[in-house]
Symmetry: C2
């Protein structure tokens, strides 16, 4: 195998994303997450490194499962405060030409009519560089912010998501035909009304009777990311997703996941390579292996396990404050009752995890989250990435950071050239929209379920 490796940077519109306590590191600048220059500088660094995209996580809600309180999350800035990720994209698009933007939006709390317009707007403004990470949310605190008692069950959220996708596919793919915009200045006709269709949708969860408010954008449907690992999540992703993001620490587990997902894609009428799959790692780079290890040791001095426990409790749906920290992770019991997707993932991958107790898990998760950490020279890290890609069959990596922007600057300066030397990384961007860069076409393939929305609509 010698495919070019895909790379996204992984971040979130907050201070403490996945490195808990590292905002206190003297070189960390994440506290400036609420300024445009922070994000525009990052975007320029990533484009200099020919990154495919910046992948922005989001959590609507606060981590208040740990100790039944948001206090630990607030003290540690653990993904709170957390600002809206979409608002970062237009400014970063102004200072870049090729970098893609994969943005997490929780469909459970976004009406499809307004959300579809928002994404089409961004696809226009970025010249087709927008992606959407489809999530259904996993925090009860978010549901309570929306006036609900708590969130819907995991499986029901995926049923709602399927219905939601049908609505937005119809708006993006079926409402405006390609020839609808005539733009005849002499006749004074902008659009041909016969080619703009009203979408009728009467689904189990969503109803809509309206035309899309926007003319077609370069990609129409944004590039679709998904991260589901539960059985329902995999089904959903195999049908709908184009890029998969999987957070796991065991190459063997990832290899099995990749094989399973490509099989599921085929079963859903798609091709195995219609899915681009991204693993995750946190790179720590030094001029020598020893320097990199010293850097990692320095980072570890700033980890706050309380912040990690707050995040893990929320993501797993388990109050880890109820347990002795030396309890084995495998003993956390049957989480099916309030099972979140992430909790299931954790159990599924427990055997491959480089930790066994809750304390070890929290300490491990303090740098970059529960990701493998690749430590060494630029060449070492490049070799490790290539090795994982070749062993697991993934297409690339999402890169978590330890210290902002140091982790990404180090990577661009020292790892990217080593990947290029080995013929495993592009030396220039492919022109065109994000989907063109990754799949060779701006629009969704005909074998994707969204394609059905293209012809099934009547005025």
């Amino acid at each position: 195998m010698s495919r070019e490796i895909l790379l996204n940077a992984f971040h979130m519109n907050c201070i403490g994303h996945q490195s808990h306590g590292l905002w206190t590191h003297p070189r960390d600048t994440a506290r400036h997450y609420n300024t445009l220059s922070y994000w525009c500088d990052l975007a320029k660094t990533l484009e200099r490194g020919l990154f495919d995209g910046l992948f922005l996580a989001d959590v609507l809600g606060v981590y208040d499962v740990y100790g039944n309180s948001p206090d630990a999350a607030l003290r540690n800035a653990t993904q709170v405060p957390v600002n809206d990720p979409l608002m970062l994209v237009p400014a970063m698009a102004m200072v870049t030409e090729h970098l893609g933007f994969g943005v997490t939006c929780t469909l459970s709390y976004e009406p499809p009519y307004t959300f579809a317009r928002r994404m089409t707007t961004l696809d226009h403004l970025t010249n087709g560089r927008i992606g959407w990470n489809i999530v259904t949310g996993y925090l009860n605190s978010a549901a309570q912010g929306m006036g609900q008692q708590g969130q819907e069950s995991h499986d029901r959220r995926y049923e709602m998501a399927e219905d939601y996708m049908q609505v937005v596919y119809k708006l993006w793919e079926g409402s405006w035909e390609d020839g609808a915009v005539v733009e005849d200045r002499s006749a004074g006709i902008f659009a041909d009304p016969a080619k703009v269709h009203r979408v009728h949708h009467d689904g189990p969860f969503y109803q809509l009777d309206a035309m899309h408010l926007c003319e077609p954008s370069p990609q129409r449907t944004p590039l679709l990311y998904q991260a589901g690992a539960s059985p329902k999540g995999r089904e959903f992703a195999a049908r709908n997703a184009e890029c998969l993001f999987i957070a796991a620490t065991s190459p063997e587990w990832i290899k099995g996941y990749v094989a399973d997902m490509r099989t599921r894609a085929v079963a859903a009428g798609r091709r195995p390579d219609d899915l681009k799959i991204f693993a995750i790692c946190t790179p720590v780079v030094g001029a020598t292996k020893a320097e990199a290890e010293a850097k990692l040791a320095d980072y570890r001095c700033y980890v706050r396990t309380e912040g990690a426990l707050a995040q893990l409790s929320g993501a797993m749906g388990v109050n880890l404050a109820d347990y002795d920290l030396d309890t084995p992770v495998s003993a956390l019991g049957n989480l099916e009752t309030d099972a979140t997707q992430t909790a299931l993932e954790t159990l599924a991958r427990a055997s491959g995890n480089p930790y066994s107790t809750i304390r070890q898990m929290a300490e491990f998760a303090g740098i970059g989250g529960r990701t493998p950490i690749f430590t060494g020279t630029g060449a070492d890290v490049a070799e490790e990435i290539i090795s994982w890609v070749d062993r697991t069959g993934v297409d690339g990596f999402n890169l978590a950071y330890a210290v902002m922007p140091e982790t990404f600057e180090d990577f661009v300066n020292h790892v990217v050239p080593e990947l290029q030397t080995r013929g495993r990384y592009k030396t220039a961007y492919t022109p065109g929209p994000l989907r063109t860069k990754l799949f060779g076409r701006a629009r969704l393939a005909d074998n994707h379920p969204a394609a059905a929305a293209r012809t099934s609509l009547k005025i």
Copy 2:
């Protein structure tokens, strides 16, 4: 009177805002509304002219009242396609330092929890330059996009709006105390949980039980715009708004409106000058009066009355295709049954309108909408603006455009210096957030109803 006059540019994220057919003018560039450079160029022009703000209208939904069809709107690009206005702000904020952004968001279709986060995010990213034009929507087509049969009644929409405001005030003003962000790097403490409060709201329309996800932004609550002219709308605006925007063509009518609103503000426990009131005009500027008139005559050649009729029918809630075009506007009958705020405004101001029949109204509305057109040299237009301000008691003007960006470039180059020469316009920006520039303080005044949210919350 010699107060400095306030100025906003009035636009919308679409091709045909209020000058119907003018997108076909050879010098008009509005077709590039879906590019970042179009908006960033405009923002830079406005900042060069020391404009207080760019006021972005929005309509969620399509004008399908005329002929019971969206066809006329689509043919003429009459506010359709229409992209999301919020997405323009971060890019324009990148290329400016002082320009404010007043953005129209329809609260009826934005859950308060996510909307509050979005606005706080923008207030952070713009360093406190965001304003919100509070609207409840007036098109049934929008409600149908949200899965409803039709919109709520006019009065009920204002009751919902009052409830909505209480929720967002609590999130913006009451959830995070000013001292909540400690940012103690040595102790590893970002926020003091004792100073971050969960908002409980159990109103007639909205329920919420959550803390705000964002730390306080420079203004906390965005600068609040409103444009209600109906009795309910005026009540709402007198209590909640800081800036009022009134679209009328009769100085006498405006004078009465201004007096009424300042009286209402006092009745609501505020001061008369807690309201900044903006009238509207469309400036057409030439080197000589004759040149300006020739320019206006040229613009008129591109007007499409069908586009104007589509917009007017939607805004008034009346299918004007049902009427002979020579019907007097005053004969349109009792619109109370499906009365929209705008329809009421039209009736209220009919006596002062420079047109009498539907045809004349549509032709008049073809340039800049139903606004007075100020035609002449820079000095002529400056004098006219000053005269209207002094006769009516408004604080400034929203400027509609005929041709983009010509109208605003002409104004900045030729009218702004004349206003400055007359001592009626700033020669430099006041530093600080938008509210500071307009009212001398970054936060809402203590006599504003939002202030009650500051102390009434318990954890």
